[in-house]
Structure formats: structure tokens, C-alpha cells
């Protein structure tokens, strides 16, 4: 997994509430038995006006200044709905490394962590202020520092955020989540041995 330490780059505001994973990547764009190759489908039904992928010039990521965005700023409950991990893969493929929002859909949040994509939770008024400062600035540059757990706006304003220590370590070190858990194989086996006589119905049917 790609490490996440400090990033500095263009930040794109998409200030809608409840942006669901169907909007992030439509259902008919999921059809590859693969974790990659979904970047062109990101926000497919908003980004393009037809099936020939003709761009909608009004959509934020199609605007010249935001085309190379690596940070997305969004409204509450970003990534709600479907569990499709393709939403995280599509953002990653497009080049987005971090999404900043007041809250996230629960499954999407977990999927981001597993893909080196950092979900940053700030207060709603902070997210709105940050989006406003990005909109007003020329270069749209925002810094997200996972070591300091700090976001810096184009005007130099700093916002602190929290992320679970386990997730932070995983992202900072680019750890594979499955390999990380293999370190606890002994504990998993011990749990099972203790649990089997207590709940035999789980193990035999």
C-alpha cells in the first residue's frame, strides 16, 4: 500500500451533502474483476454529459484549475451508500489522495484506509471555510500532514484532525492490512479455541 505522510497539492471543492458511492462511481462502471482502471469512471454521470465521455465543463474536476487535484473537499456524509470499494479505487486512480469532509459513510471510510487514501474529518464550519479559501485562491494548494494530523489552507490557516492510531500507523508506513493482522495469528487461534466450546453452533452446522 502506498504510504501517506505529507501531501501538498491542488484541492477541489465539491460541496454537496450526502455524495453517495453511486455518484462517485456508477453501478454500470464496476465491471472489471480488478482493483484498478476505474479513474475515468470517477463521478461518471456528473463528469460526462453522454456515453462518449464528452466532458461536462461545469463539473469541478473538469475545470482546468482543478484537473490535477489530489485533495477533494466535500459536504457531510461523503461516500454514503453502497460498499463498492471501486469508489476508493476510482478516486485513487484519478489521483485523489485525501478527502476532507465533516463526516463520511462508514464503509467508504474503511475502504479509503485500506487503499492509502486519507479521509480527514473536520468540523462543518472548518470544511466550509477551507472550501471558501480554496475557491478564492489562485493556486488552490492545500497541505495535509498525517504526521502532525494537520491541514493547512491556501491562506495558511491550520486545522487539526484526529484519526485512529492504528489507521494512522498503517497509512504512514504503507502497511498491507492483511499482513499486519497475520502478526496476530496466535491471538486469533487462541480466540477460536476458547470460543468453540462456548458457541459450537457457529463452527458446526
Amino acid at each position: 500500500m502506498e504510504k501517506f505522510t505529507v501531501i501538498n497539492g491542488i484541492s477541489a471543492p465539491l460541496m454537496r451533502r450526502n455524495i453517495d458511492t453511486d455518484a462517485i462511481i456508477p453501478g454500470n462502471k464496476l465491471l472489471k474483476v480488478s482493483k484498478t482502471g476505474f479513474g475515468d469512471s470517477l463521478f461518471g454521470n456528473w463528469r460526462y454529459i453522454d456515453t462518449n465521455l464528452t466532458e461536462n465543463p461545469d463539473f469541478v474536476l473538469n475545470m482546468p484549475v482543478y484537473r490535477k487535484a489530489i485533495i477533494l473537499i466535500a459536504g457531510t456524509n461523503f461516500g454514503c451508500g453502497s460498499s463498492r470499494e471501486n469508489a476508493a479505487w476510482a478516486l485513487k486512480d484519478f489521483g485523489i489522495r485525501c478527502v476532507i469532509a465533516p463526516s463520511f459513510g462508514p464503509i467508504f471510510y474503511n475502504n479509503c484506509i485500506k487503499n492509502g487514501l486519507l479521509p480527514v474529518v473536520l468540523l462543518e464550519n472548518q470544511v466550509e471555510e477551507l472550501a471558501e479559501h480554496v475557491t478564492q485562491s489562485n493556486k488552490k494548494l492545500v497541505t495535509v500532514d498525517l504526521q502532525k494530523c494537520e491541514v493547512t489552507s491556501p491562506t495558511g490557516l491550520k486545522y487539526q484532525f484526529t484519526v485512529s492510531q492504528v489507521y494512522r500507523d498503517m497509512l504512514l508506513e504503507g502497511m498491507d492490512p492483511i499482513d499486519a493482522t497475520f502478526n496476530f495469528e496466535h491471538e486469533i487461534t487462541a480466540f477460536e479455541q476458547n470460543d468453540k466450546p462456548k458457541r459450537p453452533w457457529i463452527y458446526q452446522y
Binding site: R16, A23, G27, K35, G81, S83, N111, E187, R199
Partner: protein, 472 residues
């Protein structure tokens, strides 16, 4: 000191392998039930990384997402690329020895419909699946949540998940449920009042006398839509209704093990003094049959109400969201919901595709015809549901009313993602599903969510209709 625990706490603590940091635990997962869309990716990655499946006997697979629902369906799918998911998943589950409810299996169906009906989901078990509506099986008292493909891979390889412990939330329904008010109406009402993000960071227990009086099918419907207000999961405490439902299911324990299981399950309900981080109360006297007017399940009103006016929204962000929803859905504020004409009606899905849902719709459809020009479709939630519905004559009632009678699957709920069998651009569909998002049932399709009774009644009249006009 208060040692009282909630239902969710009890199940949670019984599955903690180890604490990793503060509120984050390594959890044991009792059931890993995957489908061809997400499961194929997970198993392919397992294979590529040369990893092993840790507990094959705790792993299950079904086909539901990609396959067509047309009669006589095969591995060929209307949506290009679908066949690869079916064949990869079949080959991979076979090579690892994971049981698969394949296309021709008498137990095939939508995972959230078959898991409780087979007794694979059990009270007090942790249950993971690569679909957000996994929370459905909270209806039988399982702690269940949707996961992505990488987390599914994690469960296949380690039988565990790294999880932040959710906060506890309880929603209590008071009073008595009005006649003709379904579980779907209760949950749509709740989401409309609480908001689409009300459940974030919380596991939600539905409680109170109204919930206790619900059948298992109704509880499954309530829990199915917990994710629609972004709750980590929804759950109802297991009770005699649950045990009666489960006792003869094929995968449920038998004999003394059953008795021991029931004794354990009876210890699970929240202690009387248990503390919840968030509590909501609703009086059922206020709940009438519901229908959505917008593009989020929170955009729901009573069927005899009108399309709301964004001008009356409490803040500008909500106003903008409402206006955008109205632009997409093509309605103007103040329009009576019952004046809205529909082009199509759909009955099915993990929300409302169970036998009781079909029976309720059939009660209204019997001896009647859908309005001219309405495309009406029923896709039962499972092959077993379909089989019983056919033996009871329900399929005949649907077909004589003008409904297409289809095979079970997720297709019409997530057009294009599944069988590519969606509706047409601009069509207005009244649907028993759980998501009225933009483009959810096909590009430009306008989806309205409602109960099976409301969909059946509206299909007959050709416009959104209060089902109570057809009896209760």
C-alpha cells in the same frame, strides 16, 4: 458502577480477539458471505497473493448482483462483462471449497434474503458481506455490516476485521402502528425525521413494543435501511419471534446445541440500565404510508402529503440539496404526491423481496390490472421465495395483473451494475428498493421508494396512491 451493556456491546465484546488501541479492536467474524461482484475480486486477490482461506466452513457465496433476472437466464448477462464475475467467482469458490449458491441452486437468492432464511445468519453472530445492505440480518439479532473487497479478503485470510467500536444508538417506536402502515413506512419515516447522516459512527438498536410486535421479515426491512442513514448497522434484540423463525432452518443448530444457543441468545438483549450515546423516540401515531419525493431516502413524506418546498428548509445547504433533488426528479413544490404519475413499478430487492412482501402486494393486485402503459416488474428475493410464491398462486396474480414475473437478483435495484436491465432515461419508477439516488436504477431514472402495498396500489391506478384505499 454501571456494568450494564447494550445488545451491541455484548455481541461486540464476545468477538474481540484483542484490543489494538483505544476504541479499535481486532474482531472475530463468524460468517463471511460474499457475492460474485465483490467476492470475485477478493478471491482473485487471495489467489494472486497465494494466501489461504482461513476458515472455509465460515465462508459462503451466492450469485445475486450481476446476473440477469430474465426467465431462462444463463451465465450470459445483458450487461457487458458480467459473465466474467459469475465465472471467476464460481471457479474460485470451487477451487477453495467455499459453498456457492449458484444460478441453478434451489437456495440461490439475494444474500440478505437467503442468509437469515437458511439460518446462516444467527443471533449474536458477527456477519460480514461485500454489500452495504448486510445490516439487513440485524433483523434476527446478528451484528452485521457491509465491507469492501479488501476487507472481505482480510476476512477470508484471517477470519477477522480491524474495527472501530461503534457508539450505541437506540431508536424507540412508541404508540401503536396504524393499519396499513408497513415496516418500510416506519423506516422511511425515521430516516426522513432523523436525516441521512443521523447514524454515522453508531450501531442502531430498534426497540420498543412496536418493534417487538414486528415479524422477522418486517425487522429485516427495518434493519436493511440502517445504512441509508449511514449507521454502522441496525439490529433488533432476538426473542421468541426470532427463535421460532430460525428453529427449523437448514443451517441453524439442532438438538442440544440449539437449546444451548437459545440460552445464550436470551442473554443478549440490552440490559435495562444500559446507556446509549444517542436515543431517538418516535410515536407511531404520526406514521402514515410513506413515499420519497427526492434523491435521498431522507426525502420522504406521507403519501397523502405534498412535495416539500426548499424555501422552508432550515438552512441553505439543505435548501440547495432539496432544490437539486427536485431538479433531478422533475417535481415542483406543493404537488400532491398522489397526483404524481408513474411509468413503472418494481417489487423486489433485499428490502422488500420476501414472501410476506409479495403476499401483501398480491392481496391488492388480485383480480386487478396495472394501469395501461405501466412497466410493472416483480423479482422475488430468492429462488425459494419465487418457488413458494408460484405454488401459492401469487405469481399468477402478479402476471394476470400485468406484472413481469422474474428470477431473483439485485438487478433492478442497481441497474447497469447488475443485469443492466434498468429503466429508461427520465422514467418515473415507484420501487420497493432502498435507494432513490440519482441514476441508481438507470441513467436519468427517477426513483421513488415505497412499500410493496403502495407500489401495488399505485401500479393499478397509474399514479402514486395511498394503499389504504385498497384495504388494510
Amino acid at each position: 458502577m454501571n456494568n450494564s451493556l447494550t445488545l451491541v456491546d455484548k455481541i461486540w465484546y464476545d468477538h474481540v480477539i484483542m484490543n489494538l488501541d483505544k476504541d479499535i479492536d481486532l474482531m472475530f467474524i463468524d460468517r463471511n458471505f460474499q457475492h460474485e461482484m465483490s467476492g470475485s475480486v477478493s478471491l482473485k486477490c487471495i489467489q494472486n497473493a497465494k494466501r489461504k482461506i482461513r476458515n472455509i466452513n465460515l465462508s459462503f457465496g451466492t450469485l445475486d448482483h450481476v446476473l440477469d433476472t430474465r426467465q431462462g437466464r444463463t451465465d450470459a448477462t445483458m450487461i457487458p462483462g458480467g459473465t466474467e464475475f459469475i465465472r471467476e467467482f464460481r471457479a474460485l469458490t470451487k477451487s477453495y471449497g467455499i459453498p456457492l449458491f449458484d444460478i441453478d441452486d434451489p437456495d440461490q437468492g439475494i444474500v440478505h434474503v437467503i442468509a437469515p432464511d437458511l439460518g446462516i445468519a444467527l443471533p449474536g453472530c458477527t456477519f460480514a458481506c461485500g454489500d452495504s445492505h448486510t445490516c439487513t440480518v440485524g433483523g434476527i439479532g446478528a451484528l452485521a455490516w457491509g465491507i469492501g473487497a479488501t476487507d472481505a479478503e482480510h476476512v477470508f485470510a484471517t477470519q477477522s476485521l480491524v474495527q472501530v467500536k461503534p457508539k450505541n444508538m437506540r431508536v424507540t417506536f412508541k404508540g401503536t402502528r396504524g393499519k396499513g402502515v408497513s415496516a418500510k413506512d416506519l423506516i422511511l419515516y425515521l430516516i426522513s425525521k432523523a436525516g441521512a447522516d443521523a447514524g454515522i459512527d453508531h450501531a442502531v438498536e430498534y426497540a420498543g413494543p412496536v418493534i417487538e410486535s414486528l415479524t422477522i421479515d418486517e425487522r429485516l426491512t427495518m434493519c436493511n435501511m440502517a445504512i441509508e442513514f449511514s449507521a454502522r448497522t441496525g439490529i433488533v434484540a432476538p426473542d421468541d419471534v426470532t427463535f421460532n423463525y430460525l428453529h427449523d432452518k437448514p443451517y441453524a443448530p439442532k438438538g442440544k446445541v440449539w437449546d444451548d444457543a437459545v440460552a445464550y441468545w436470551r442473554t443478549l438483549p440490552s440490559d435495562p440500565e444500559a446507556k446509549f450515546d444517542k436515543e431517538l423516540y418516535y410515536d407511531c401515531v404520526n406514521v402514515r404510508p410513506q413515499v420519497t419525493w427526492g434523491t435521498s431516502p431522507t426525502h420522504s413524506v406521507a403519501v397523502d402529503d405534498v412535495v416539500p418546498d426548499p424555501i422552508k428548509a432550515p438552512d441553505s445547504a439543505i435548501r440547495l440539496t432539496m432544490q437539486r433533488a427536485l431538479d433531478y426528479i422533475g417535481l415542483t413544490p406543493g404537488t400532491r404526491m398522489e397526483d404524481i404519475k408513474i411509468d413503472a413499478a418494481f417489487i423486489g430487492s433485499c428490502t422488500n423481496g420476501r414472501l410476506s412482501d409479495l403476499r401483501e402486494a398480491a392481496r391488492i393486485l388480485k383480480g386487478r390490472k396495472v394501469a395501461p402503459g405501466i412497466k410493472a416488474i416483480c423479482s422475488p428475493g430468492s429462488t425459494k421465495t419465487k418457488r413458494i410464491a408460484e405454488s401459492e398462486g401469487i405469481s399468477k396474480i402478479f402476471q394476470e395483473a400485468g406484472f413481469e414475473w422474474r428470477e431473483p437478483g439485485c438487478s433492478f435495484c442497481m441497474s447497469g451494475g447488475a443485469g443492466g436491465e434498468g429503466f429508461e432515461y427520465g422514467q418515473r419508477v415507484l420501487s420497493t428498493t432502498n435507494r432513490n439516488f440519482e441514476d441508481r436504477q438507470g441513467r436519468g431514472v427517477r426513483s421513488h421508494l415505497a412499500s410493496p402495498a403502495t407500489v401495488a396500489a399505485s401500479a393499478i391506478l397509474g399514479h402514486i396512491t395511498d394503499p389504504r384505499k385498497f384495504g388494510e
